[in-house]
Amino acid sequence: MKKITVLNQVSSSTLTLSVLVCSALSSTAFAHDMVPATAQSSSIIFKNATVHTVIDGVKHNTNLLIQDGVIKAIGPEISAPEAQIFDASNKHIYPGLIALDTSMGLVEVEMMRPSNDSYDIGLSNPQLEAITAFNPDSEIIPTVRVNGITHAQVVPQGERLAGQSALVSMDSWTIEDALVPSTMGFHLYWPKQGALPQDEKKREKQLKQHRKDLKQLATIFEEGYRYSLASKAKKLSKQDIRWQSMLPLYRGDAQLFVHANRQKQIEEAVSLAKQYGFKLVIVGGYDAWRLGELLNEIEAKVIYTKTLSLPMRKDEPLEMSFKIPALLKQANIPFALGFTSDWNSRNLPLAAGQTVAYGLSKEDALQSITLDAAKILGAESMGALAPGYAANLVISGGDILDPMMTKIEKVYIDGREVDLNNRQQQLYQKYLKR
């Protein structure tokens, strides 16, 4: 009988590694937060890497050049005399991952109200902007980017029309330099309707409530529309901050993100989007795969957020939530994977990996948290490794989708090498000394 030697990182090697990290740290000495990296000053060539371009397959044993925060070239024969050389043999290079539908920087400790800015009251708050409450110094952010997530969509929550999301970089000084250009997006939480009660009175009550909710919703969008008509005709006498903020949506310059999971909700949302010609993105999207034709007709997209969830209904197959990405793919619906959370967003690669045993290819799984996510947000030149794309890179010793293999060594955002230290690493290092 042969004993397998498996990736044997015994504790001694852990210790050696930690000592190194420790000494590197000594200058910052358990700072309260990491220092944002400075702009890329010199070009870097990553040599002999396995490059997951997303846009052009996987290239083995190839080189990648970044310069001024942008990818310059990929190929076996690249030279740049000034460039630093980074030996990336046996290493994988991925585009930075993009986490969709997060509360990143809006929430520090969920149950502590003072540290929670993710939610406001009122049915109609299109004017709220998530970026205004984003905390670039959140201790959570460095713990998320250490897993290869370079950007996050920060999404306000609410009762109905909750406000505007923002795409942020995971390494920044202020909310202004955190902001990454993307298509403006309004977030609407569609009225929920669960199972109809058997009891007639309760059923009527529920249906009545739902009709009322839909009516309110219709009114909101109708009022916004009236305002947009008046605005177009330059007939506005007084500004309404809600409808003023929504003008880009009626002009077709913004997207409407509708948070909805059930088929009927999604159909209702499509009907609204059709009425006003909105660009629609369904967030959640559990039943969306059933609606390929309908969604494709208006070029709607889906951010599927339920991968690591239980089946929504008792009788559904065990693996329902795992295989929905594959079903979306089959239905030709453009989609990306999200992970609705703050701290837990760091498990986004795991969620993508989970879909692989259930019908999605590894390449598609990766694409669903990089390029497809960027496309849905309307973020240009992000989410892939190709000349002209932003130098958002993740260097890993192993498969980024499989935690048992992942070994992230470096993360670059716009060519800036990001500090991978974080509060948890600091505590780890501290208690290694005990």
Binding site: M1, E110, M111, K202, L308, L318, L350, A357, M404
Partner: protein
């Protein structure tokens, strides 16, 4: 048959009048001779015994004689009942008829930890065992009709509120004084799990209720044995007067009636009663068929409601998706339940409880169409019900000496017959005037020279209708009315040669019809008529086929339930990579032999023993089943008692739910064993239960008997109610300082309790008889077990201060802490934990969701492990449980743990923590065959469980699962079609009952949920 049912209901409605023999002038003594002979009737003496053409003699309120040859005593008043059948009056053993009582409302805002003690009441607001409901009987003639109209003559009644509800009373439904109708003043003790209107918070969970019942029964026994001793001069404490406990003094001899509202609770009640060696009958729920074999093992009668459900709402295809297969299956099978119970030879009675009275007979007939025998139905209505209600010596049979409580029917009431009258204590209540049947005749009416046929139709709901006809000519009648042999109507008689609208009055008698017609001018014409044979329902007798079920019956009876129980396999698994979780590490290209549920051999290139199933596992990985130290799946009725700060008496083992799809889902992730822990709402929670994911088996079979007893303790934010809202600031403790002192206090109390018990045990027999014994206290007993190291502590904890506090406290009381669970700051005090010998079960990477987890780090596992703390990863979550393998893998990513060590964190390490490592947790020869086959390295995100065995039985198989997915969808589709088709066709059956099943939440540590205040479907 549906038409028949309609006609019966309608006749009852049409001629509905409660004709009561008027009582004698109250001022005079009633000396009327009351000897009545009901002659020439069919007598249903008892189920299975019929006397045809016989006479029943009644004197006053009793049956005195049964005469076979109709030789009637001459002085008897004779009622000829040729063509009628006499049944013994029916008995409903579960009602609240005639009990007029409500507990006063308490005007204090919750939470309410204690109630007022008034007049010897119990300490808990749901215990009313001192109540004897005969004291509160107020006969209610109108309400009685709900039963009388269906042939019931007596009922057992109680106030249906609380856990111990008090003692029921069996009553006649006769319209008499309370004193006259009470048949059995002290009948069943009514019991339920639901605390009802009790304002007290405790118990807020099902397991709390069960614990309270257990403690109360024990208290009652102790009270009986000790109260009197406390009066002795040598005793220095007088035991409190407690009427509630006194009320249960004779419980060993008096049967209980247990009200439960679903199948799991019915089985729990049965178990609880059996545990106490008591006798009981159990109120059923209509789903008995789903676990009939288990139910059969208990010696308890059932009282079954006819609560067939309404068709689920599947007409809307969006809503249809939300309807579970289980719900649809039950819709199809509910009418067949009685047959299943009857075939299982479980004695049962029937109750109208929970349904409208007019639905009772149509439903019972439906049950008969579904295969229930008439004899069994009659037994359920009479003899078996009488036995439950404690009146089988006076009621339930036609027998001299028995009460003259009778049902007189025309035809077979189980088919198409009608109840014509009900006799209550020798007095008749006519439901259908016997004379109404006169209407069902052909009548030829002679009006002057004219002969007309009078055709009457009394089948429509509201009105009598009819016509006079001659050949083709029809004269419609209006203003029809029939009262007691007198029929009136009007008709436009112009076509028949009489001018204008004429009014008719007809009297029926044995000879025929006579009467008068009043014309336009007010002139009277005499009428006479003759009757010919009746037209009644003879043409409607058809027999219906036994139903063809299209649903499958599985165990549990939900989607993915098993059609056939898992069987032990003898296996040869060949050429796998075996992760042993023991010192052999990971073995490549190895074989495993499983025999009789045990791991027999591990080796290479083994040969397949004959008769063994061979599995080629080339390229696959084989591991031990995953063990989860901390889970809340597979329970009912609340995971937290959480009302009092200490609830160590509650037992998760009481509330295991074998129907939970969570079991199957856990298996699909390779989890075969889990400890189901009480939540963390209070410092000392309840007793835990280790289960194995034996999907398809009973609650008891899920429980892992070899596991060491354990209990949940908790520290920190949850127990000090930090996140409970502003109402919850009154319970001690509210700080971590207070938490310590609470534990201190609890340990002292438990010690004192134990030494009191020990001291008492040491007394001589004679001394014991004189001294008041210490009162058994299950709450303190469990804590005493902890102190005696007989029960392991799994303590929910986060921050370093509280961890050290508890370690030192345990050391002061000289017990070892088993496992710190969650323990996210364990890395800060790993040295101390290791020195103490406590182990840790943690999350891989959770943090920042509340303040006490802000210092949590994903390297916690490595730090603790490296310091020598035995470490495991738990799920505490329904979803994550099926991906525990990935959770373990995260330690490889975050802190370079070796794959073997990572894998051990979810197999052997938790097995050690649960005290079951001797039997499972690794692939080691001699251990039970809890094994899982994977298609990739089990730590990989790409890995999928191919099959999972427990004790060599394959409870999960990926291929079978795929087939089942197909089956489930086919079965759903077929049932939906059936529901839609029947909704469109069958209008004659009464509408079904609305059963909105309350979906219990996914339980978490901090789920606060008062199960009794959720609408009561539990």
């Amino acid at each position: 048959m549906h038409n028949k049912i309609t006609s019966i209901t309608i006749i009852t409605a049409l001629t509905f009048s409660y004709i009561k023999n008027s009582s004698a002038n109250d001022q005079l003594t009633d000396n009327t001779p009351k000897l009545t002979a009901l002659t020439h009737a069919n007598l249903m003496i008892e189920p299975g015994e019929v006397l045809e053409n016989a006479t029943l003699v009644i004197k006053n309120n009793k049956i005195i004689e049964i005469i076979k040859d109709n030789k009637v005593p001459q002085h008897a008043f004779v009622i000829d009942l040729s063509g009628y059948t006499i049944y013994p009056g029916f008995i409903d053993p579960f009602t609240n008829y005639a009990i007029d009582f409500k507990y006063p409302k308490i005007e204090t805002s919750p939470p309410i930890y204690e109630i007022k003690r008034i007049g010897g009441n119990a300490e808990n607001g749901a215990i009313h065992s001192e109540k004897e409901w005969f004291n509160f009987v107020y006969p209610n003639n109108e309400k009685a009709l709900d039963w009388v109209n269906n042939g019931f003559t007596s009922v057992q009644s109680s106030n249906l509120d609380g856990i111990f509800r008090g003692r029921g009373v069996t009553l006649s439904l006769a319209d008499k004084r309370a004193n006259d109708i009470i048949y059995h003043a002290r009948a069943n003790h009514f019991v339920a799990f639901d605390k009802g209107s009790s304002p007290q918070d405790y118990p807020s969970s099902l397991m709390g209720s069960i614990a309270l019942i257990r403690q109360t029964l024990s208290d009652a026994k102790w009270y009986k044995e000790n109260k009197h001793k406390s009066f002795a001069k040598t005793q220095n404490t007088l035991v409190e007067f407690n009427a509630a406990l006194a009320g249960l003094g004779t419980i060993e001899n008096d049967p209980l009636l247990f009200d439960t509202r679903n199948l799991n609770n019915q089985l729990r009640a049965a178990k609880l009663i059996k545990e106490h060696k008591l006798d009981a009958s159990l109120l059923g729920n209509g789903k008995e068929y789903a676990r009939i074999d288990e139910l059969k093992t208990f010696p308890f009668e059932l009282i079954l409601p006819l609560n067939f459900p309404e068709a689920p709402k599947v007409g809307d295809s969006d809503n249809e998706r939300e309807v579970s297969l289980a719900t649809m299956r039950h819709w199809e099978r509910a009418p067949g339940n009685l047959k299943v119970v009857s075939d299982a030879e479980i004695p049962f009675a029937l109750t109208q409880h929970g349904i409208k009275p007019e639905r009772f007979w149509p439903r019972l007939r439906q049950a008969i169409n579904y295969g229930l025998t008439e004899e069994a139905a009659l037994a359920a209505l009479t003899t078996d019900a009488a036995a439950i209600a404690g009146i089988d010596e006076i009621s339930g049979r036609l027998k001299p000496g028995f009460m003259a409580d009778l049902v007189i029917a025309k035809g077979n009431i189980f088919q198409d017959g009608e109840i014509h009258s009900v006799w209550l204590q020798g007095e008749e209540t006519q439901l259908i005037n016997r004379n109404t049947s006169l209407l069902n005749q052909n009548i030829q009416l002679q009006i002057g020279a004219l002969t007309l046929d009078l055709e009457l139709d009394n089948t429509s709901q509201e009105n009598l209708s009819g016509a006079l006809s001659s050949g083709e000519q029809q004269l419609p009648l209006s203003n029809l009315d029939y009262q007691d042999r007198r029929l009136t109507f009007s008709a436009d008689m112009t076509p028949a040669g009489f001018d204008g609208i004429n009014r008719f009055t007809l009297w029926f008698d044995k000879q025929g019809v006579h009467g008068r017609m009043l014309d336009k001018q007010g002139a009277v014409t005499s009428l006479a008529g003759i009757t010919t044979d009746n037209l009644s329902s003879a043409d409607q007798a058809t027999t219906e086929q036994a139903p063809n079920y299209i649903s499958t019956l599985t165990s549990p009876n939900v989607a993915y339930g098993k059609e056939i129980a898992a069987q032990a396999e003898n296996l040869h698994i060949s050429n796998a990579t075996i992760w042993t979780s023991d010192k052999q590490g990971v073995l490549s290209n190895s074989d495993l032999i499983v025999s009789r549920g045990e791991i027999k051999r591990i080796g290479q290139n083994l040969s397949t023993p004959s008769g063994y199933t061979f599995i080629d596992a080339t390229g696959k990985h084989l591991t031990a089943g995953i063990v989860d130290e901390h889970s809340h799946i597979a329970i009912n009725g609340g995971i937290n008692e959480g009302t009092d700060a200490i609830t160590s008496e509650v037992r998760v083992g009481d509330i295991i739910n074998p129907d939970d799809i969570g079991i199957y889902r856990a298996l699909s992730g390779g989890v075969t064993t889990a400890q189901i822990l009480h939540g963390s709402a209070n410092p000392i929670g309840g007793q835990a239960q280790v289960i194995q994911m034996k999907w398809g088996e009973s609650a008891s079979s899920l429980k892992y008997q070899q596991a060491k007893p354990s209990i949940k303790f908790a520290l920190g934010e949850n127990v000090k109610q930090s996140n409970w809202g502003d109402k919850f600031t009154r319970r001690f403790p509210q700080s971590r300082m207070g938490v310590k002192s609470l534990f201190n206090e609890a340990f002292n109390e438990a010690q004192a309790y134990q030494s009191a018990l020990d001291n008492y045990q040491d007394l001589r027999g004679s001394e014991k008889r004189r001294r008041v014994a210490p009162q058994p206290n299950y709450r303190l007993e469990a804590i005493a077990e902890v102190l005696a190291q007989e029960r392991d502590v799994h303590i929910h904890s986060y921050v370093q201060s509280e961890i050290l506090m508890f370690l030192r406290l345990a050391e002061a009381y000289q017990f070892k802490v088993g496992t710190f669970t969650h323990i996210l700051e364990g890395y800060k005090v790993a040295d101390e934990m290791a020195a103490h010998g406590a182990s840790a079960s943690t999350f891989s990477d959770w943090w920042a969701y509340k303040f006490e987890v802000y210092d949590a780090i994903p390297q916690n596992t490595c730090l603790m492990q490296n310091k020598g703390v035995l470490t495991s990863i738990n799920s505490d979550d329904f979803e994550m449980q099926r991906r525990l393998n990935q959770e373990a893998a995260k330690s490889i990513m975050y802190c370079d743990m070796s794959p073997e060590d990572a894998w051990n964190m979810i197999t052997i390490n938790p097995a050690i923590q649960l005290g079951v490592d001797e039997y499972l947790g690794s692939i080691t020869e001699g251990k039970q065959a809890d094994i899982v086959l994977w298609d990739h390295s089990p730590l990989s995100v790409y890995a999928q469980v191919q099959a999972a065995w427990i004790e060599g039985k394959r409870y999960f198989d990926r291929k079978t699962d795929r087939e089942m997915q197909q089956k489930v969808s086919v079965e759903r589709a077929a049932l939906i079609q059936k529901i839609l088709a029947e909704q469109n066709s069958d209008k004659s059956l009464p509408p079904g009952e609305v059963i909105d099943e309350i979906d219990e939440p996914e339980w978490h540590c901090d789920t606060h949920y008062d199960v009794w205040r959720q609408g009561g479907a539990i």
